[in-house]
């Protein structure tokens, strides 16, 4: 999500608006934005750069927004492009509070966090197009069960053609009746649920919650009973890589009904940034990764590797690697310029550059 810094005066925050009109003249670019009941004018160029509305004013340095974008101005002065009309990867943050405390969380909440279901409804209300897909994220988006249902009802009605991808740890889905309620509102949601191990000891340690594993497993079972579309996600790092083959076997035997398994390389950001030992990509794990892939392949369960440069994954598994890192997060190192696979490779995640050492030469 694009974020720009600025300062506001007298504006009722959060200020949510849609970009309706863009005009360029000799003084710069003007954007007319429509909020809920309030239009406002955003100016770049001279003499003044900022947003003015009745009684309020927002000043910023530079901005990059398009027609149809939904922008929000936050308490802290930031302008977020909440929905980008020409992006394929929009998602709405419903809350940044969470009932898990994953030791490698890439986006830990700031302070006490906040609850944004109402804001999300306002954003959806302003949208003038239906994105193909829309992510619903957090924290844990189902943490406030009733508010989520209210949001889902509104969004599903407003955006009937949009495919919602709900990123949830699944513990709240432990309640069969709640799963039923969600399904009655929208039976076509893609549930992206993390499972970090094949056993409760490791998984619960990683997420910092003593009953997480079986709550999530029960949630998966409840979803399966509703024929839901499920993607399992795992982040591969030092705490779970040694059992990756057993993890794959566990999926094949216990939750073979999932549509896809996403095996993601760790991003050394957020909580992970202080744990340098978390990063594990080197030859040591080639055999385990190969075994894991073999198990999933034979069971005909779709799987992909994300965020893992091709030089540190066995060649036989390259066909399962996806180029998935957002372009502005990709880095390359000196060695990459001579690499034959540079075009197919997802590159190195910006936060991982210093850890990407001793890769195998392809």
């Amino acid at each position: 999500m694009k974020i720009f810094q600025g300062a506001s005066t007298g504006l009722e925050l959060p200020f949510i608006a849609r970009v309706d009109c863009i005009k360029t003249d000799e003084r710069g670019v003007s954007y007319l934005v429509s909020g809920k009941n309030k239009p406002a004018l955003l100016r770049t160029g001279s003499p003044v750069i900022g947003l003015s509305t009745v009684g309020g004013w927002y000043r910023f340095e530079n901005i990059d927004i398009d027609m149809g974008d939904i922008v929000t101005i936050q308490d802290n002065g930031q302008l977020h492009v909440a929905i980008s009309s020409n992006s394929t990867e929009n998602s709405l943050l419903l809350t940044d509070r969470c009932n898990h405390h994953c030791i490698m969380c890439a986006q830990p909440k700031k302070g006490v966090g906040g609850v944004f279901y109402d804001e999300a409804i306002d954003i959806v209300e302003l949208m003038d197009f239906q994105p193909v897909a829309l992510g619903l994220t957090g924290g844990e988006p189902l943490l406030y069960k009733e508010q989520f249902l209210e949001f889902l009802k509104f969004a599903s009605t407003r955006l009937p053609d949009t495919y919602f991808q709900l990123l949830t740890n699944g513990t709240m889905l432990n309640d069969y009746d709640y799963v039923k309620k969600i399904n009655q509102i929208n039976s076509d949601i893609n549930y992206c649920i993390p499972l970090y191990a094949d056993n409760e000891v490791d998984h619960n340690m990683i997420v910092g919650n003593k009953q997480a594993f079986w709550k999530t497993m029960n949630g998966l079972s409840n979803l399966a009973r509703h024929n839901s579309n499920i993607e399992i996600r795992n982040v591969l790092f030092s705490k779970n890589i040694s059992r990756i083959a057993e993890y794959a076997e566990f999926i094949c035997k216990n939750i073979p009904f999932v549509s896809h398994v996403a095996l993601m390389g760790i991003e050394m950001v957020g909580k992970a940034s202080t744990h340098h030992d978390f990063y594990i990509f080197n030859h040591e794990w080639h055999k385990s990764l190969d075994e894991a892939a073999c198990a999933l392949y034979l069971s005909k369960i779709n799987f992909s590797f994300y965020n893992i440069p091709l030089c540190v994954i066995p060649k036989s598994l390259h066909e399962f690697c996806r180029k998935s890192i957002s372009p502005w997060k990709i880095r390359h190192i000196a060695r990459c310029s001579g690499c034959d696979f540079k075009d197919e490779c997802c590159g190195i995640f910006f936060s991982n550059v210093e850890f990407h050492q001793h890769p195998a030469t392809i």
């Binding site: 056993n199 409760e200 000891v201 490791d202 029960n218 057993e246």
Partner: protein, 473 residues
């Protein structure tokens, strides 16, 4: 206590100085004796990989809870899915007549020049298909047997034709079990048009095959079979499989047999022990002991593994079925080795006169001895409902392994099953059945699953086997 955990139910075997644990839905794990004693006295360290392995495979858990119990129930139902499935395999014996006189024939077939009056009639065939329509399963296999079923080709055509109408709401697969001695272009076209699966018998190369599989005039049949397979393939018939009957003559030449299968172009073989019925009963010229069979079978498997390691794609069907039972969470459609037995509840066989039996063997016993203990009823005279009476129920319940002493605490129970007919026919059968299967299971767990290369080969067979009941219950 922080390091406390709960032990979930399992059975076990000893393998040298190690322990092999197997639970009720087929998960298995090896433990050395030190870990086994630690585990069973609740002293295993919970941060150890061993404990995590045991949790992952449902031998242990931190604390028993409803989600865990529900999940185990799901695994159990999935493993025993066949119990929930109605009958899906219907075998139709369309004639007793045969154009061969194989020396070990267990079907006590009659001469092909015999009167056709005893062949399956239009009335019986029609009534059979109408009865099949009453079963609620959606995926059906109809298998034509004999004698030699091609001698009553008219009835096969009739059944296939009326099935399109009467069984239109189901997916039906047809199989013809034929010796492929004499087939014409009409037959080949028919097989191709209706996508029929051909199952034939090949006992090895020409010399081995013609030892026992001969015509009335003691002429060999190998040439015909191989030529007819070629004709079928040329027309585009894709699904042809062969099984092997092991006799004293080819018992010690299984490697040669496997090579001959490859030569003909098969990539799998079903190595089948001779049934002790009909001509094979107490026939010292062609029979052998169970021990001899198992040794030869396991040696043949080792050869097949070595072929696979060299990149040859070749599997053995019985081992594929066992590997599916052991390595996947699913059940199989192999009615001969289920608990309760798949006979009657998953498969049925119909005689030319419409008599319905629980299995092929039951029918053969009846034909040989007149024993009607496993006769369920008749398609013409009785309603399908009446086929399933108290006697039938007692066959089924007596074949539940949990109710058989010895079986109920056997570690290999989730993979095994009994044949109620065999048990009834010969008292020694129970012992040899157990002996044979235990020996094969021990071989798998001792010599195959702990070898990574062989395990991978077995896994590929497990997930590619043709009987796919891939539903998670």
């Amino acid at each position: 206590m922080i390091n406390s955990y709960e032990i979930l139910p399992f059975n076990f075997e000893t393998l040298d100085s190690n322990f092999l644990l197997i639970n009720d839905f087929g998960e298995y794990h090896y433990l050395n004796s030190k870990d086994f004693y630690l585990f069973s006295s609740c002293k295993l360290y919970k941060q150890s990989n061993t404990y995590k392995d045991l949790c992952s495979k449902f031998f242990a858990c931190d604390k028993l809870s409803n989600p865990i119990i529900n999940h185990c129930a799901t695994r159990y139902r999935t493993k025993f899915r066949h119990i929930f499935e109605p009958v899906s395999l219907f075998m139709l014996v369309v004639t007793y007549r045969c154009n061969q006189q194989c020396r070990y024939c267990h079907a006590t077939s009659s001469d092909e020049r015999d009167t056709c009056e005893k062949d399956m009639s239009l009335e019986v065939a029609t009534k059979t298909v109408q009865a099949i329509a009453k079963f609620s399963t959606n995926l059906i296999k109809i298998e034509f047997q004999g004698g030699e079923p091609t001698l009553n080709f008219d009835i096969i055509k009739h059944v296939v034709s009326i099935s399109k109408d009467i069984l239109s709401d189901k997916v039906v697969e047809f199989v013809i079990c034929t010796n492929l001695l004499h087939i014409d272009s009409e037959f080949i076209e028919f097989v191709y048009e209706n996508n029929i699966i051909i199952s034939t018998s090949i006992d090895g190369d020409r010399e081995l095959h013609d030892q026992n599989r001969v015509t009335r005039n003691s002429n060999g049949t190998y040439e015909n079979v191989v030529n007819n397979i070629a004709k079928l393939r040329k027309r585009g018939v894709g699904r042809i499989s062969a099984l092997l009957t092991v006799t004293k003559h080819n018992l010690n030449s299984l490697k040669r047999v496997i090579d001959s299968y490859q030569f003909i172009g098969f990539n799998s073989i079903f190595i089948r022990e001779m049934n002790p019925y009909g001509k094979a009963h107490n026939n010292s010229e062609i029979s052998y002991s169970t021990d001899e069979f198992v040794s030869a079978y396991l040696e043949a498997l080792e050869y097949i593994f070595s072929l696979n390691k060299d990149g040859v794609v070749f599997s053995e069907e019985f081992m594929s079925i066992l590997s599916r039972k052991i390595l996947t969470p699913y059940s199989t459609g192999f009615v001969d080795l289920q608990s309760p037995s798949g006979y009657a509840i998953n498969s049925l066989i119909v005689n030319p006169n419409g008599d319905v039996f629980i299995s092929d063997e039951a029918r053969m016993v009846h034909r040989a001895t007149g024993d009607d203990y496993f006769l369920m009823g008749n398609v013409i005279n009785d309603s399908t409902k009446s086929w399933y009476d108290d006697r039938c129920a007692s066959h089924i319940s007596s074949s539940v392994l949990e109710c058989i002493p010895g079986c109920s605490w056997c570690a290999f129970k989730p993979y095994c099953g009994v044949d109620p007919v065999r048990m009834n026919y010969s008292k020694r059968s129970a012992e040899t059945h157990c002996y044979k299967h235990k020996k094969i299971f021990r071989y798998i767990f001792d010599r195959v699953l702990r070898d990574p290369a062989k395990l991978r080969i077995l896994k590929s067979w497990a997930y590619c086997s043709s009987d796919n009941l891939d539903f998670f219950q």
